[in-house]
């Protein structure tokens, strides 16, 4: 029998999911003539307060994206607020992805010695961060900024810094932080009752992201061979055997798809095949996200009374944020409705 706090949070997730925009809403949004009419149309429910506070003459892609971002963060924080016990630990850890994004932003600026301030970051209350963000912001160098990760759960990412310096990009450190983040989330999910389904969906997300990263870097002619050293650690967070993951790292982009056909990510190949053959990184990003979204949707539909539904709700909040800023920017840039890539 399910515990009352589980029943409560899953019921709330079902209720909250009705606040989300539907596919029909998106279809009507993309057909709107301009960004102002889009802002008016979207100005309901959770968005009414944020968008209503933007003066009409200041409505543009950036201000709307910023408003959508605030709602996205509030929804995540609300999910923490309404959960309790081990579920709260899980949701709390899941929401740390906002902190991850902020850490990435700081490291990117520090890597090239550029200025970065709190204004460049997503606003998130102090209690939802492990890392001393202010100290990171004030760090004079990349290494000093990395040092502030030492007391945090992401400290293991520091060992990726040597690769970051050798390839001249902060990407390996970012990947290290994300890997550590997913390890932690999967770990908290494993402690939740009937958490296996949640773990699986998290592994699908991590795997989909990693597949996109690796294939993109291959398309762009970059190096990923250094990831072999971490293949054991990474493959534990994916639905893939370590030796198959190593084959995937070593393979060229077209043969890498054949390797994926031998793994738990066989289903993704039909989505991304064309983008890989076209060598289009932005299409690959879109189709890998689309593949994951559809996978999560069908998985949640099959598990409506599991905590997976809450996870699906959190993913949907993220997808809604992406869809809304996509439409806002597309309207600002006069992109044809049929060319707007809605997830």
């Amino acid at each position: 029998m399910m515990r009352p706090d589980y029943i409560y949070i899953i019921t709330r997730a079902h209720g909250l999911s009705t606040h989300l925009f539907t596919e029909d809403d998106y279809k009507s949004f993309v057909r709107l003539p301009d960004i102002v009419s889009f802002a008016e149309a979207v100005s309901k429910g959770d968005y009414i307060r944020k968008i209503g506070s933007i003066p009409r003459e200041q409505i543009n892609g950036k201000t709307l994206a910023s408003a959508f971002g605030e709602v996205y963060v509030e929804r995540f924080l609300y999910a923490i607020k309404i959960s309790s016990g081990k579920v709260k630990n899980f949701v709390d850890m899941f929401v740390r992805r906002i902190e991850i994004e902020n850490i990435k932003r700081i490291l990117r600026a520090k890597f090239s010695g550029r200025a970065v301030s709190e204004e460049d970051l997503i606003k998130v209350p102090r209690e939802f961060t492990y890392v001393n963000i202010v100290a990171m912001l004030e760090s004079p160098t990349f290494d000093d900024a990395l040092y502030h990760l030492t007391p945090s759960p992401y400290k293991e990412a520091i060992e990726f810094s040597q690769y970051a310096k050798s390839i001249g990009s902060p990407f390996p450190v970012e990947l290290g932080i994300e890997t550590e983040y997913f390890r932690r989330v999967v770990n908290t999910a494993s402690k939740v009752k009937k958490g296996r389904e949640v773990e699986k969906l998290l592994k699908v997300e991590y795997g989909t992201k990693l597949i996109y990263y690796i294939l993109s870097i291959k398309i762009l002619g970059g190096q990923v061979i250094y990831l072999e050293k971490y293949s054991d650690k990474m493959s534990r967070l994916m639905l893939i055997e370590p030796y198959i993951f190593n084959d995937f790292i070593r393979a060229k982009e077209d043969t890498a798809l054949d390797v994926l056909n031998r793994s738990g990510y066989k289903w993704i190949v039909k989505y991304i095949e064309e983008s890989v053959l076209k060598r289009s990184v932005s299409d690959l990003y879109y189709w890998s996200s689309k593949a994951f979204k559809e996978y999560a949707e069908s998985y949640a539909a099959r598990n409506p009374l599991n905590l997976v539904f809450l996870l699906w709700y959190l993913y949907s909040v993220e997808f809604e944020y992406r869809n809304l800023y996509t439409i806002a920017l597309a309207k600002e840039l006069d992109v044809k409705p049929e060319d707007i890539p809605i997830l």
Binding site: S112, D120, S169, S216, S282, L329
Partner: protein
């Protein structure tokens, strides 16, 4: 005896000076002709590069369309914070004087490290835009050279024409005129001398 023609006196010394000046002007004309031909040759070499403009513009438009496509997929914030990884792109204008023609070369002092961008979508777009931008810089450099060369070609051709049609014929006329005058003077002098000699001998003319 000397006569004043166009401000110069028709004397033997003047003739020598005029001949020397004419020789010098003809030499100058030859050099200007050589410069004109050289500029024309260089222009012919550069013109095919400008015909490439449409290809470069298409490439830039394609990169821009890819940028719009990527921007709506990943969002402004992702583009902005990824751009912080990229080092500054610095160029320097180098002024050169070639055959008196002022040319500018664009030297890249520091290249932006676009491969450092962690987001693959943003990196891809940055590479496309940077490559298109480099081609535009090269094109601007060539167009600037063509403009300077064309202007100088026009000036040089005008100078050659002026020398060929006005200055040289004028000097040639002048030299011929002085020669004629000197010849006349010599004949007059000869006739006069002959007359005096004959009169001295008591012959009636």
């Amino acid at each position: 005896m000397s006569h004043n023609i166009m401000g110069v006196s028709a004397a033997r010394g003047t003739l020598l000076a005029m001949r020397q000046q004419l020789k010098f002007i003809k030499k100058g004309k030859e050099i200007l002709e050589m410069k004109r031909d050289r500029i024309a040759g260089e222009l012919n070499q550069l013109l095919p590069e400008v015909r490439n403009r449409i290809v470069v513009e298409d490439e830039l438009m394609e990169a821009y369309n890819s940028f719009v496509n990527a921007l709506i997929k990943v969002g402004i914030e992702e583009f902005m914070n990824n751009s912080k990884v990229v080092s500054e792109f610095r160029v320097r204008l180098i002024r050169k004087l070639v055959m008196g023609v002022e040319e500018f070369d664009i030297e890249i002092e520091s290249e932006p490290n676009v491969s450092a961008i962690p987001n693959p979508v943003v990196q891809d777009i940055a590479m496309k835009l940077y490559n298109a931008f480099l081609k535009m810089i090269k094109l601007a450099e060539t167009e600037n050279k063509i403009e300077a060369l064309a202007l100088d070609l026009m000036n040089t051709a005008r100078k050659v024409n002026a020398l060929d049609k006005i200055v040289i014929p004028m000097y040639e006329d002048l030299v011929r005129y002085i020669e004629d005058r000197l010849m006349e003077d010599m004949l007059e002098e000869f006739v006069r001398t002959k007359y005096i000699v004959t009169r001295k001998k008591g012959v009636k003319i």
